[in-house]
Amino acid sequence: MKDEVQSPEERSAGLKGMGCSRKRVEDVRFTQGKGNYVDDIKSDGMLFGDFVRSPYAHAKVVSINTAEALKVPGVLAVLTAKDLEPLGLHWMPTLAGDKQMVLADGKVLFQGQEVAFVVATDRYAAADGVEAVEVEYEELPVLTDPFEALKSDVVLREDLAGQSEGAHGPRKHHNHIFTWEQGDKDATEAVMAEADVVAEEMVYYHRTHPCPLETCGCVASMDKVTGKLTLYGTFQAPHAIRTVVSLISGIAEHNIRVISPDIGGGFGNKVGAYSGYVCSVVASIVTGKPVKWVEDRMDNLMSTAFARDYWMQGKISATKEGKITGLWCHTTADHGGFDACADPTKFPAGFMNICTGSYDIPSAYLAVDGVYTNKAPGGVAYRCSFRVTEAAYFIERMIEVLAIKLNMDAAELRRINFIRKDQFPYQSALGWEYDSGDYHTAWDKALAAVGYDDLRREQAQRLEDFKAGKTRKLMGIGLTHFTEIVGAGPVKNCDILGLGMFDSCEIRIHPTGSAIARLGTISQGQGHATTFAQIIASEIGLPADDITLEEGDTDTAPYGLGTYGSRSTPVAGAATAMAARKIRAKAQMIAAYLLEVHDGDVEWDVDRFVVKGDESRFKTMKEIAFASYNQAIPGLEPGLEAVSYYDPPNMTYPFGAYICVMEIDVDTGEHEVRQFYALDDCGTRINPMIIEGQVHGGATEGYAIAMGQEIAYDDMGNHKTATLMDFFLPTSWETPTYQTDHTVTPSPHHPIGAKGVGESPNVGSVPCFSNAVHDAFRPFGLTQSHMPHDHWRVWKIARDMGLHG
């Protein structure tokens, strides 16, 4: 046999297991246009749904007249809140413990809110129907500023009138949602009062949107004969959607099959439950036909899932030498018209309490106030684990502000405050236990890689030249060392709507030694079919190419909480390794039986069990697989399969060191990213090629957010950025080139030591780009200027500092 002469290294390489830049199995379909996305689904008699949306940000809905719309050829039905009310579906629960109108129930709270759902034979007829629906509105005063909203007499949510208690404790005002406090307020304030230095700043992380290239959508199909509902959709959490649909519709869960087909990017946009899903299901029940609803881009940017919008008032205290003693933060969080943030139940501000970052800060206090305004609901984790992006931006800005106050180099300030390697597992002042890290090593590697000292010298020279009138360009060096918290999470403190945030994997080995694995997660481009097969390959010694991976069909996949918050590798990846280990444990018994030795007398060797001390006696996994189906082995059931539901003991804490060198033209406000270096430590690396791709993508999203992307409203609550003309998505032309690097600090509690990487680059790059802009203007006294740093805003900084002469 060929493999008998192969060395263990050769056998191992043949598996294409962990650590290998295996080419993606998904791509054969995708590169020839054979993906299967929601909008590709077509079935007999399928209808299309489309929304009538509110042109006003705050208004009473006086009347809705559907008569004309129903005359439009092809229009079959128009649903309004009145039609949904008898079913109890005119409102739905949000993930954040609030409720949200499915269709406008007497009023609207944001521009673009769903008012009526038109169902027609094709998308053109549906659009005609939308035009023909007549809605009479009575405008109400609009609140777009969360600070104003907390003072205003205008009541946004009459439905909550008199409720002084919300899902997360007391409400202080009729437009107030919750206050969430972490840490020790008194101790922190006492530290601040005595500190040598206290730096204070308001750091705003503006409203933005995940904007995956594919918008949200679904196809609902109610089979009246079997009573089964099939719901295809762009769901990042198909099982959770099934449970939610069952709970709110009353359809028994076993009669619902949710399928997430190929998903064209998610980035958090596709976590929530949206009106379109509910209306499509109802429309399918009413018409007896499959109903498709797919957002257009404007719908997407206006109504589903904004991100961020955090006003973070911060104080950071330190000794004269720069040793940080305390961190204080009060955040005013603009949640829009409904609290539809996608966070674990006990965390109404997500993991914002990771805001002590990579630093050993003895005292800290965080309070977050959630506020209703006349903006779209959402507050999703845009390529981030529940407000980690906001937290990282906050602390990485505060560090810079402190460095200015101390007149210190910001790289050095970070270095002297990093949590040391020997302090892990590290208990943070705001309640987390960081699993592992080696920040100093990563930092030194990063600074050396970019030639930090030389860059600072060059920058100083540039400043001289600028002052001497020899150049109009400033140079900024952006630094960031971020620590993430991902992989939610332990069931004891993480749930969504009461569903514990474990995840799952089921593996079946076929008699001929190939396999199928199914997971509770769903890829949206991360390449799960490629990487999870690599984990199994390494664990059980069957080639990754012989392992099929399936996700997204709730009738076949084991229950899981889905893919977001970088949780797939930390949680489902762990479940995969654990299920594989169960298989290996049984395989060991089979091998021992076949080799006629005790279980303990065989040992694992890449793809086989070998009799200890006698390499010539072994059984390969392939042979064992066949034996498990063909031999009656005393004490063992036939077959070779396993399932694991993995409840992680802790989160994982990936980290990274990013450095950006930027040139800024003070006269035009234009920038050029000259260099961007990204060092990521995501623990054990499963597929380096995919990790690098994730870093490229996340850094580009971060570049967009920091340098131009924003969801903006005017004072009337008009959405000003609802098309890709106004909402900045970088093209290949302006996207920088990235230099990637890594260190490896495995997670001690994860079965394979992996931590997850998908979101790190978004978390880390935003402060890095932003800090570069700030750094360029630091010599002229700039401490804080809010993102996005588009050309106009940067030009204004220069103008306000008198640099235009």
Partner: protein
């Protein structure tokens, strides 16, 4: 709305059908013909997910009426595979260099890149970045897309040379 009779060639096959005059080419392709390679990402000409090749030019099929494609020769990503059904050099290079993640932009990207390399068989990195700027990708940050296209150009040029 009254329908008109349209005839065109899609991926080498003559097709015809009835469509409202306002029907966009992308919807005719996807919904009437079942050619679902090209995608809709914006419907406003910004994203390029709907890019197809029409009479030797890249067009965004969300901004072309099928009426305007009357008699045209249209190629979509489905039509770019080799005659034996294997992946073309460009498709293979996208896979080789990890030039895609979710795959939603990919059909438009590859169709555009195909035309770009016809227009300029030896592009520089800068020319690729500029030539692809009408196609948005939210996943890859373009790094590997650019690499894939440059690699495809090299392979195709080497093949041409070998054939000569």
């Amino acid at each position: 709305m009254s329908k008109m009779h349209v005839k065109l060639t899609v991926n080498g096959t003559a097709v015809e059908g009835l469509a409202e005059p306002r029907t966009l080419l992308i919807h005719f392709l996807r919904e009437s013909l079942g050619v679902t390679g090209p995608h809709v990402g914006c419907e406003t000409s910004h994203c390029g997910a709907c890019t197809v090749d029409m009479d030797g030019r890249s067009v965004k099929s969300c901004t072309v009426f099928v009426a305007q494609a009357q008699g045209a020769d249209v190629t979509t990503v489905e039509g770019l595979v080799n005659a034996d059904g294997s992946l073309s050099v460009l498709q293979e290079m996208f896979r080789e260099h990890h030039g895609l993640q979710c795959g939603f932009c990919t059909p438009g990207m590859i169709t555009r890149a195909h035309r770009l390399l016809q227009e300029n068989p030896t592009p520089t990195e800068e020319e690729v970045r500029f030539g692809m700027a009408g196609n948005l990708c939210r996943c890859t940050g373009y790094q590997n897309i650019v690499k894939a296209i440059l690699a495809a150009a090299d392979v195709m040029n080497a093949q041409k040379e070998a054939a000569e």
